[in-house]
Symmetry: D3
Subunit: 243 residues, 6 copies
């Protein structure tokens, strides 16, 4: 039995609140149960140095946590003087994932910066962040189209992410903090809405895992991600809400 009382393949309640803040070109509050992340997409002219004269635009991500988003207060990275390894790892993952849904040639000369700030953490913040950021990014791109900053639609499709893991030798979906911190194996899966993988990151935290377990985890992740695509489409108004 899971600490959360959920079935192994049961997700937490997911909520996507579009246009959560007033200044950003695109924004969303994403909630995976008690995990809450504010995602904003900011459009700016110019590209990083390594893309100068490349005819490409750029999508990048930053990730942060409010100090008391966690059980114990964690030191503010701004007072520590730098971002930690975990932060770097997560924001690189979010950035790569979102670039997979964008044709960067179609946003040339622009950088879209995705900020994912966790205001409450209960496991799965990075996958929630990717799922919410996808919605914010699409709204920012629509803004660019309206303002005629770009002429071609750069969106290749949607991206969603979910965590899976092995807990008490049972593969489970969408781990909360309690489950995550005791899981034997932990995996984050990012997929496109065409059913292909962008990222598969599996880690044997307490023990190694077999080929069969790897297959089961991936199956479970696919199942959860399908659900997330439906919610994203509803939030974006692409489909009417399921009854």
């Amino acid at each position: 039995m899971r600490p959360s009382q959920r079935q192994p393949n049961e997700m937490r309640q997911i909520r996507l609140t579009r246009d959560y803040t007033m200044h950003a070109e695109g924004s969303a509050l994403v909630e995976f149960g008690e995990t809450k992340v504010i995602c904003t997409a900011s459009v700016a002219q110019g590209v990083p140095r390594f893309l100068r004269d490349s005819n490409k635009g750029w999508v990048t991500a930053e990730y942060g946590m409010l100090p008391r988003a966690t059980h114990e207060r964690t030191q503010r990275e701004a007072t520590r003087g730098n971002q930690g390894g975990r932060t770097f790892e997560i924001q690189r993952l979010i950035g790569r994932s979102l670039r997979a849904m964008i044709n960067v040639e179609a946003i040339r000369d622009y950088t879209i910066t995705i900020d994912c700030d966790v205001i409450q953490a209960d496991g799965g913040t990075r996958t929630a962040a990717i799922t919410g950021a996808c919605v914010a990014l699409i709204d920012a791109v629509r803004y660019m189209q309206q303002k005629r900053m770009i002429t071609k639609d750069p969106i290749r499709g949607l991206v969603s992410a979910v965590s899976v893991g092995i807990y008490n030798n049972v593969p489970i979906l969408d781990l909360d903090y309690k489950e995550d911190s005791n899981a034997e194996v932990d995996m984050n899966i990012v997929m496109t809405d065409r059913g292909e993988f962008i990222e598969v990151q599996g880690t044997g935290e307490q023990r190694a895992f077999s080929q069969q377990e790897l297959n089961q985890l991936i199956e479970l992740g696919k199942h959860g991600i399908e659900h997330l695509f439906n919610l994203q489409k509803e939030a974006l108004g692409w489909v009417t809400e399921s009854a």
Copy 2:
């Protein structure tokens, strides 16, 4: 006429949402119109080095802004590697203001850290932060009393803060961003609920100001702060909501 269409002595709509997050010992979301700040109070054992063997506890504050809380995205202080001068100035002001409402001898051996994180900025973030943090701090102290971490009530009273300024030669109350960035004079006032001052910080941004103007600004601030004390008392359940 003010850009916000408000009367000179009219405040924005103020909202105080208590218990806004699940992990902190005390928390509140404070809204001054479109300015939104999450305030959390975290209790930890131990005191800073300069208070060792002093029989005193400590209350300190940190302040941050989500990168896209502002019109233009601002660089994350964690990526910049340090907090800026404005941040230091604000968190020192918040800390001093809150210490004025606490008898630090009565929380000996404990540090309460107040985190004020702006999720949307539209002027007056520091005074909103103080006003919200007061509520979070009281809840954290009540938590300490319930857990019998302290025996004596350390609360001396409430603290609220508001900004005033001179705009087009007219003293106005509770400036939003547009008003603030064009004000000739800018003043932050922090008071106790016994009608005394904790901080008065007036700055001639575009011109110097006369003794008479100083008096008018202070009068206006007192008026606004009275309203804030009523809202804090309602949020804390000390009075029933005004009809």
Copy 3:
């Protein structure tokens, strides 16, 4: 009775030594009793990024303390790796105060950097710094006029500053370190020589203060600042030394 044996409205001996160093375009050593600050004004071409294409020049200030300017040696900020919150607060105050005496349009394309370095501290370093920096700044501006770097006189008037406070429930003027560290209320006042305020920063360090006390402190500050303007004018040779 004050620890310094002075009357409540009695200042320490103030000295302004103009042209204290050989390299700077303007410089002064300012002494408020045992508090000694070297102020230099350095002229350089160019303005900060946020003023590009604005037709404005800039005046900015930096503040430092020699490690053993204080009773106990304090760590050098250069070895610590950053400036502390107190330093930021002070240098922002000095910069704002000095900008109030300059028409920045008249120094377009130039930045004047004021460095205030405390070589001995005994209370009131920030107000001494402003008072001395005013003299250094005027000399730097005169240098610019002589070198025909600017054509219009940018000086709007003089600026002086003094600290006041409440000690043993008595409002006193120009606190030394011993008085300052035991004062109940602490206030810094910056004024123009036309009798208007640039900054009023009052803080209840040990207790809140009443409206009446606020008024008394301001009155005391005005009195002290009048004296400082006389000394600045003497140092600048605008008036002959008073008998």
Copy 4:
């Protein structure tokens, strides 16, 4: 055809030079073709703060690159003032992988730090580092046993790692720099010598990948890692060199 002229399932020449440096408790130079990494294992008393009073020891890793290990000189992280995101990501991967081969209860009170420094880079530095560090770590543990610092053998087995990827739509094994920088999909696999996974990190760099491609990549990785275990055992003298 691969740029390296190798067959899709053909590895580069691998060399493991044990005891490469004189000071470390364990060390190895690992070469995957032109990629060369010095791995040292350093034993020290004490554990990180989060393990105090836990009865556990710790294994951690750091990763660096000589500035001219790469085609173009890269800035030294020590002059830049911090380690980059890529470095954090890699050293966290190495640390997790090596902890999987150690029973940390059996090295209580000790920390073993693995340093992996790339002296020449040609793709696959992180997987080479893990493979070489495994040998250095075993030697450091043997040293601890000889010195009677520990009584129980903490080694659970060997760990090896290899990179696989999709290049021109063909899954290939052990990518060099040229292949890696043009691969569509990139995957790092870390396994135990019992045929189980510790890490599977697959990234769609230029396009998403299908379930079938995921399976092929994993198959290829398993094949390569088997070869690495043979070489590690030879280097450690556990088997005699294959003819």
Copy 5:
């Protein structure tokens, strides 16, 4: 002919003002012509970690420059975030030189920190700093003896330093800034008052130098340092002032 019109073996006017500041246990202002350095010696209990349990005390030095001590304003190291290479080099030299005059066993459990802050620079700041710091250090040691913090006299003798160099192929003594920045060879010499060397640091800035030139420079340095010892002894009251 030297730019300074001095004879090759002629020093600038040297002044040593003892007890220059009020807080430090020992202090001096040292002037080599227009080069002015404030030297303070601060006594504190405790020793650096590497000396724990060693029965030794420690003498260390820090060096700084006011931003406008130089012709052009230099960036404050505190705002830059770290000390530069030149600063490290100089403070290590000062520290080593002063430790040579102290028996560190006789100041066990104490650290004496020498701060040398240049308030005006005109060449030779590091040698002036050593010469002035020697006086400050002796006064700090006398303070420790009076306060009975130590029982044995730790002073082994005096230390002085001077710069020499080759300018227009002529060896010259005590270079000012103009001479120093055009010298072909530059050398700093630190000696004890028993005529032995503590440091000899010669650098061919614009060309290499011969054995004969090396000998001439050392001879010149000895000559200058003899004069400095006389001035130190006068300042310390060990001899009466020369007529």
Copy 6:
């Protein structure tokens, strides 16, 4: 008797391995006994800001140590966040020494960066680094000539360096770590192959030294450096290997 059993004037076995790495324009592994340093020379277009519009190129050096190059593991400077004073001192010495062998006008518009990374330390790393870097630098210059980046030969001659010291009152040559850490006096000498000095840096670590000792140390250094020039010439193929 020396700990190393060598005669006072006997050097360790020196090895220079040219072209040690594949990417750098010039590279060498230099070994002074067990001290091993990788030296690379990297050519890049552009010069530092202070040389813009000067018609000069630049040669600069950086120095690093692998964490376990030493007996005890030392913290990585990249994790510490900055380079230490010792590192600055050494890389400035290396840079100055190598600039002495180059006519910087003849490499205008280019910067050559020398990286010296110690992979195993046993005393004398800085002098070994200079000796090895000289070879790497010559190869980088030859590369520039072949690629017609420069037209005039900028090489003025060779540069070598060695350490000498006084151990048990006996002047000795080429100290290893054990000797160095117990030497009374320590000196590094850098010379040109025309028999002139570039640097002489002598330090009385445990006691001051006399004029006679200074002369003996320099004599010993000259002797050692002569041997190094022969080895450099052999490595560069300028002379055939001595029988």
